[in-house]
């Protein structure tokens, strides 16, 4: 029996609202702008090639870095393993574009490291061949160093839930650790590796900051260029939809080839994997293998950033800066709360009423995550201009537009969190409370809320970090006098003040580190 009540109506309404920008963009796939054939003739294939190159590069690097570290820290103990357990996630706290700026500042032609090495060798730049970090390869490396934690986290969670008997069985059959790794552990971990890689690749392909700075032409830089340079929104939208199509094909392929195989062990009695102790040379190797991603993905950039911060913070932190800080924090907190509550309403509604329609709408509203921030901003501008004209009000240029943009982009994270949290609550709880005559609201308050608060907290924290790190969408939609730390750091870099940019960047990173640690602690507790 379907009965429409306020909960259903409001959640359906919100879901539709969130899906609109994505749908608007989709409709542009079939409409070509006047420049489309020019684009096809000149740059389109380069965008496709570069995007594919980046996808593969990032996929391979993050898979290797993320899986190897997850494997080592899940199955073995060695010197520093308990430290790396947490530390390997830290690169999450630093936005990709900030790492790009820092490495650019260190390794480019006049960078600190380059100069140091040149002085050491006593040579001039023209005499020495050096790997130019500001290239597509540099972009791939920098992004992989920051994004591998996606693979790391998902693989770790997966391995933790994997029963130890499979590994034991392989050992009794006479296989060495190495053989077990490639014959058993890797094949079984494949869905986790793929899931993590897809998240990393999606972020890499949708990135603007790094590609722009390092001079790499991709779909996203092409979108900006077509939109701003040629003034053609239609062509830009078409590029955007092609990009999204790319991503969906990717996701679909992965789901399809996974359809028949179950990778979870079906045993009832579950013993988590007990860690093997490594000593001597093997322990050193393991330490080294974990140290490299930690060092290059976090320690090195963070140290450089700290040095720059120390040199410039007195100058940069003034009243205006504190305003920016305050604005960023309040925007982050408010958006995180709003999106978390919204996602909860939507997913709870699906659970209560089990409507196919509501469920499908919910899945559509997740699309926003795969759309680059700048593209979402375009969609919202168009959408809001229609609303503004029809209702004769002004929504674009207010904080509403920005929060709406964050909602479209990030609600997927929150919905995923809640869906996963709800799936752990057996339906029998709901049934039991129904038979006890407890109404929906009471059920929610007394039963659901305590059980779901972990998902809510995780959602809040993740969205908070994402909002604080977000750059292109904020840049385009923000109201007057409203800058965030991310926008400020980007501007400072734009003014060739990379050193000063470390000040707002440091705040972003510190907030990120705190949030990441809280999240991880909760995860380990579960």
């Amino acid at each position: 029996m379907k009965y429409l009540n306020k909960l259903t109506i409001s959640s359906v309404f919100f879901t539709l609202l969130i899906s609109v920008p994505a749908l608007i963009l989709f409709t542009n796939i079939f409409i070509g702008g006047e420049n489309w054939s020019h684009l096809v003739d000149t740059v389109l294939f380069e965008y496709i090639f570069n995007s594919l190159y980046i996808m593969f590069g990032v996929a391979i690097l993050t898979a290797v870095l993320g899986f190897s570290t997850a494997y080592l820290t899940s199955l073995y103990t060695f010197t520093g393993s308990s430290f790396f357990h947490y530390a390997l996630i830290l690169p999450f706290a630093i936005p990709t574009y900030i790492v790009a700026y820092i490495y650019g500042g260190m390794f480019d032609i006049t960078g600190s490291v380059t100069t140091f090495i040149l002085n050491l060798l006593g040579k001039d730049l023209s005499e020495v061949y050096f790997l130019d970090i500001m290239s597509i390869e540099g972009a791939i490396i920098v992004m992989s160093l920051v994004l591998y934690p996606y693979v790391y986290l998902i693989c770790k969670t997966y391995l933790r839930a994997e029963s130890s008997s499979i590994i034991d069985a392989s050992k009794t059959m006479g296989f060495s650790n190495f053989q077990i790794l490639y014959k058993v552990v890797i094949p079984i971990s494949r869905p986790a590796i793929v899931a993590g890689v897809i998240l990393a690749v999606m972020e890499a392909v949708a990135d603007f900051g790094v590609m722009d700075y390092y001079g790499v032409s991709t779909f996203v830089t092409g979108i900006f260029r077509t939109w701003f340079g040629m003034g053609s929104v239609e062509d830009a939208s078409k590029l955007a939809s092609m990009l999204m199509l790319f991503i969906f094909i990717l996701i679909f392929c992965e789901r399809y080839q996974r359809r028949n195989k179950r990778y979870k062990s079906s045993g009832k009695d579950f013993k988590p994997i007990s860690k093997q102790k490594l000593t001597g040379f093997k322990s050193f190797l393991a330490f080294f293998a974990c140290f490299i991603p930690f060092f290059f993905g976090f320690l090195l950039p963070f140290s450089q950033m700290s040095i720059w911060f120390y040199r410039s913070y007195e100058e940069v932190i003034d009243e205006d800066f504190l305003t920016v800080l305050y604005q960023t924090l309040s925007l982050g907190v408010f958006s995180a709360i709003f999106i978390t509550v919204l996602a909860f309403v939507i997913t709870y509604n699906v659970r209560l009423h089990k409507s196919k329609l509501a469920d499908n709408l919910t899945q559509i509203s997740k699309l926003g995550y795969s759309i680059p921030g700048a593209v979402v901003a375009v969609g919202i501008l168009s959408f809001f201009s229609i609303i503004d004209r029809s209702f004769d009000i002004l929504l674009s240029g207010t904080i509403v537009a920005v929060i709406f943009g964050y909602t479209v982009r990030f609600v997927a994270i929150s919905i995923n969190n809640f869906e996963s949290g709800f799936s752990k609550i057996p339906q029998s709880y709901d049934d039991a409370t129904k038979t006890m005559g407890i109404g929906t609201f009471q059920t929610f308050y007394k039963v659901m809320l305590p059980l779901i608060k972990n998902s809510a907290l995780a959602s809040f924290i993740v969205i908070f970090i994402e909002v604080i790190k977000e750059l292109p969408l904020t840049m385009i939609l923000r109201p007057f006098n409203y800058d965030t730390l991310a926008v400020l750091s980007h501007e400072l870099v734009g003014q060739a003040q990379v050193i000063e940019s470390s000040v707002p960047a440091m705040f972003i990173v510190l907030l990120g580190i705190v949030s990441v640690l809280i999240l991880v602690k909760k995860m380990i507790k579960d």
Binding site: T42, D124, L125, E127, S217, G397, E491
Partner: protein, 335 residues
């Protein structure tokens, strides 16, 4: 819920009208501007609210906002964008005696919809002692194979390059412009990346020999806190190329009052202020740009670079040819 939102925003919007403010959409990204806004606030008591973004984004936003837009003034760093804004009917013509008298004709819109505030040139920067300056003469000449492997220039995504190309198209037409672009691409020391200062740093350190950059960046690099910049700029010098049938390429940063400006009077005051001697001095001394106001001198450093003749094409042409310029860049492979 929508109703509450609408109400709230109306209140907000009307409060804008009632209060003493001026709302600026600016693409200028220099710190001198902060000082300028403070100066204006102190002088007039009018509060300055700013949104900074790329000009194209600002223009899109103005388009979307339509007549409900709270923007009063649009400031760009490039003539092309001013032109675009005019084409899209986003600016209004204003009647200001001060501006009419003091801004030269070639630096304002014929309908008084925008006014240039500063002038900058796009020049060739070379390493002292390399001897390459003896070969430099025209922009067209940069495509000559003798400069193979010597040119460092940023991406064509950047509007400064797009305007330079627009000027090239105006002088020689699209076909020759494409040939020129291909020639320059063949001469590039590295594929385009980084900003103007990056090109200068490269040349100073032995990568390439000629950097293409805007003049004011050179000024900003002198005594810069970043040691690499300060050191690099000591090793280079500016050469002012010209067009074969024209002068040295110039561009302007300018402002216009938006069509639906809610604080029109404040907006006009603000633009006039930007053209006032104090503001022009600040642009000149603080940001190393060439002032447009008659009687205001360029800074000593800027003057020391030498003099040049402004190119003879109209500023508006730079905007007219922008889309064509981007296409030519695409076809020539100048990323």
């Amino acid at each position: 819920m929508l109703k509450k939102l609408a109400l709230g925003t109306l209140v907000f919007a009307s409060s804008l009208l009632a209060s003493n403010e001026v709302n600026i959409y600016s693409h200028r990204h220099y710190d001198t501007d902060k000082q300028l806004f403070k100066m204006f606030e102190e002088k007039t008591g009018v509060k300055v609210n700013v949104v900074k973004a790329k000009a194209s984004a600002l223009i899109k936003r103005l388009e979307s906002e339509g007549k409900n837009s709270p923007a009063d003034v649009l400031i760009t760093v490039d003539a092309g964008r001013l032109f675009q804004a005019t084409q899209k009917d986003l600016l209004q013509s204003i009647d200001s005696d001060y501006l009419n008298k003091n801004i030269p004709a070639q630096f304002k819109d014929k309908d008084n919809k925008w006014f240039a505030l500063t002038k900058r040139s796009r020049v060739a920067v070379y390493k002292i002692g390399s001897g390459v300056e003896k070969e430099l003469s025209t922009y067209e000449g940069l495509a000559d194979p003798k400069f193979k492997g010597k040119i460092m220039v940023r991406s064509s995504n950047n509007i400064y390059n797009q305007s330079l190309m627009a000027a090239m198209i105006a002088h020689h037409g699209e076909e020759k412009a494409l040939e020129w672009a291909k020639g320059v691409v063949a001469n590039m020391a590295k594929s385009p990346k980084g900003n103007d200062r990056y090109q200068v740093k490269a040349v100073a350190n032995g990568i390439g020999e000629i950097a293409i950059a805007n003049t004011y960046y050179i000024g900003k690099m002198v005594d810069n806190k970043e040691v690499a910049q300060a050191e690099a700029v000591k090793k280079v010098k500016i050469f002012f190329p010209k067009f074969e049938n024209g002068g040295t390429h110039i561009n302007v940063s300018g402002a216009g009052v938006t069509k639906y400006s809610p604080n029109k009077e404040n907006a006009i005051k603000f633009v006039e202020f930007l053209a006032s001697p104090e503001a022009q001095e600040l642009f000149a001394k603080g940001n190393f740009e060439y002032p447009v106001l008659k009687g205001v001198q360029a800074s000593k450093l800027v003057s020391s670079w030498g003099t040049f003749e402004d190119d003879n094409i109209s500023i508006s042409t730079l905007g007219e040819n922008n889309a064509k310029a981007v296409k030519i860049f695409d076809q020539a492979g100048w990323r």
